[in-house]
């Protein structure tokens, strides 16, 4: 009973913070649904006098958003599984084959997580130009996989280390080869870690900007982030349309977030435990 006022105060406090945190998203949404005339004649915080859902269709078709989103989806579908497979193989070799230099190699890989993209840009441009891979997805995906390896290794080696050795021994007695052990025992057991990784990796790929900006130049190959930059440049006076485009680009990410919420906390927790 005595605690009641404190509790009410606490709720007021946290709800206020929560609402303040949502303000940007709220304005993004109502702006996206207004007409341009409505936007300039009424205050910004007024609700739309009429809801214009057709803004989304316009952004989708005329603003090329559909192309950008398709491109990002395509890149993610190739990059994420391939990157995880490459990292998982390495994590397996590092942790389950009694490797002598496990620790130095692990640190070598993990250090990559802190290297700024800028430190590699110029050599990568030179390399991709020489290989004729500038402005191609092959080049971009190759680079994405490279920069994705450290984080994937961090999560996967951490998880692989926790898998009991007895599983390996039992599998080997049954005549399992190394590859068999990897594909039939370790990977299935590591499903939770891989699920988390798929989600985090998808987000990172979908949201990446600098590399896509440097290595992709044709408009019809642009990803969501670089596309939205040129989209907003093109419609710089039509704020409702601009914001519809921004909102559209967020939807897939939001959907993934809502469905897999638990994995985010776990993923970060995993990163914390190292």
């Amino acid at each position: 009973m005595k605690k009641q006022p404190a509790r009410v105060l606490f709720y007021i406090f946290i709800i206020t913070f929560g609402l303040v945190w949502l303000i940007p998203v709220f304005f993004l949404t109502i702006t996206a649904l207004k007409s341009n005339g409505d936007l300039f004649s009424n205050p910004l915080y007024a609700l739309p006098s009429k809801y214009h859902f057709e803004n989304f269709i316009e952004a989708f078709n005329e603003g090329n958003m559909i192309v950008y989103m398709r491109n990002s989806a395509f890149i993610s579908i190739i990059k994420v599984p391939l990157g995880i497979l490459v990292a998982a193989l390495a994590a397996f070799g590092l942790t389950r084959l009694s490797f002598k230099w496990e620790k130095p190699f692990y640190i070598f890989f993990i250090l990559g997580m802190t290297i700024p993209f800028q430190a590699c840009l110029v050599p990568l441009v030179i390399m991709l130009t020489k290989a004729n891979l500038m402005n191609t997805y092959v080049g971009l995906i190759f680079i994405y996989i490279g920069f994705g390896i450290p984080f994937a290794m961090l999560i996967l080696t951490g998880f692989f280390k926790g898998i009991p050795r007895e599983l390996d021994d039992a599998a080997r007695i049954d005549g399992c080869s190394d590859l068999g052990l990897f594909f039939r025992i370790i990977l299935p057991v590591a499903k939770p870690a891989i699920a988390t990784l798929i989600i985090m990796d998808f987000l990172a790929t979908w949201n990446e900007f600098l590399l896509a900006q440097i290595f992709i130049s044709s408009d019809n190959l642009k990803t969501v982030t670089t596309g939205i930059m040129s989209f907003t440049g093109e419609y710089s006076t039509d704020y409702p349309l601009m914001m519809s485009g921004v909102l559209l680009s967020v939807l897939p990410v939001l959907l993934v977030y809502i469905i897999f919420q638990k994995h985010f906390v776990k993923g970060l927790g995993g990163a914390v435990k190292g």
Partner: protein
């Protein structure tokens, strides 16, 4: 591996022309040899599995980082330009003595880092402490504060540029209600960096909060119980138990925040492009403009190397510390 040693054995059996003694001797030698080979192959096995990752990682991350260091000692104009002149530390000297924008960038990175550590971490810790209590709707609040983190920097930039719009943006609209003159959030050189920082904080506080929450969950219940027995109140419990026991979490949040603050790029590029009058340049963006807009590849490389050294100075001890921690 088993196959290999079998082959050696069969080839030996076929070899019947030699005298018995030699054969025996040979047999022994070969056995040692094959055993050695077996051992070698076993120690090579991890490399087969690591080969693809190692190859890509060396090609994309490690190799280029070293090549950038090499390039920072040359003067080149243009990424694919043929002429390269070795000038030693010339680029570095140029940066520190002649490039005022570089000094601004370095200063901005430091301001950004200090503000992140002071403001974001305090706020994140406060949120985590509030959300660590059990109350109705806790998960919803966690989701609300964490969610901006899943957006791309570009999207965050777009939203906030809109909120900061000089004429019809939300902030100036609210100010006009109170009859306050509109503020040039992104056009005032003294203010622009902090405006961008506010947008970035909105995005990043949630991720630090989640790490703090994970840290809070590792604190056992016993200290609190014994504190209660000793008659400590809640604030004392917070000050003497919770905050000291979060020591390891501080290091993690500190390091991740510092890495991000030094590498910040996207949001500045998208919100101000380094302007107005270069007042919001940071190392990451100035490297970009020097290299790709002004074609000063050597200077750009030198900036990246400085960035890399600063980050590594924290990253290497941090990772070694993490390693030690996970083996105890």
């Amino acid at each position: 591996m088993g196959q290999e040693s079998n082959q050696v054995d069969t080839s030996l059996e076929l070899n019947t022309e030699r005298p018995l003694e030699v054969k025996k001797n040979n047999n022994l030698k070969l056995e040692i040899k094959s055993q050695r080979r077996l051992k070698l192959q076993r120690s090579l096995k991890p490399f087969y599995f690591m080969a693809p990752a190692l190859f890509i990682y060396l090609m994309v991350v490690a190799g280029p980082a070293f090549y950038t260091m090499y390039l920072s000692f040359f003067e080149t104009n243009g990424i694919n330009a043929a002429g390269k002149v070795f000038i030693g530390l010339g680029n570095y000297i140029e940066l520190f003595t002649n490039d005022s924008v570089f000094i601004t960038s370095l200063k901005n990175n430091i301001i950004w880092t200090v503000c992140s550590l002071a403001f974001n971490l305090t706020f994140a810790l406060m949120l985590a402490l509030m959300l660590n209590r059990s109350f109705k709707g806790r998960t919803i609040f966690r989701a609300v504060f964490y969610f901006p983190f899943i957006l791309s920097n570009i999207v965050v930039a777009m939203i906030w540029v809109w909120l900061y719009h000089p004429n019809i943006g939300l902030f100036n609209e609210i100010l006009s209600v109170f009859a306050i003159e509109p503020v040039g959030w992104l056009s005032n050189p003294d203010l622009a960096l902090f405006s961008v920082f506010a947008a970035s904080s909105w995005q990043h506080v949630g991720s630090s909060m989640i790490i703090f929450l994970a840290g809070l969950q590792t604190i056992p219940n016993e200290p609190y119980e014994s504190a209660k027995v000793d008659g400590a109140n809640r604030i004392q419990a917070l000050w003497y138990i919770t905050l000291p026991l979060l020591r390891e979490t501080y290091i993690i949040v500190f390091a991740t925040t510092l890495f991000y603050s030094m590498r910040v790029f996207d949001i500045i590029y998208a919100m101000t492009g380094g302007g107005p009058s270069q007042s919001t340049q940071v190392l990451g963006s100035w490297m970009y403009y020097q290299t790709f807009n002004h074609n000063n590849v050597g200077i750009g490389s030198a900036i990246s190397v400085i960035l890399l050294i600063v980050v590594m100075a924290v990253a290497i001890p941090y990772i070694l510390w993490q390693q030690k921690k996970s083996h105890v």
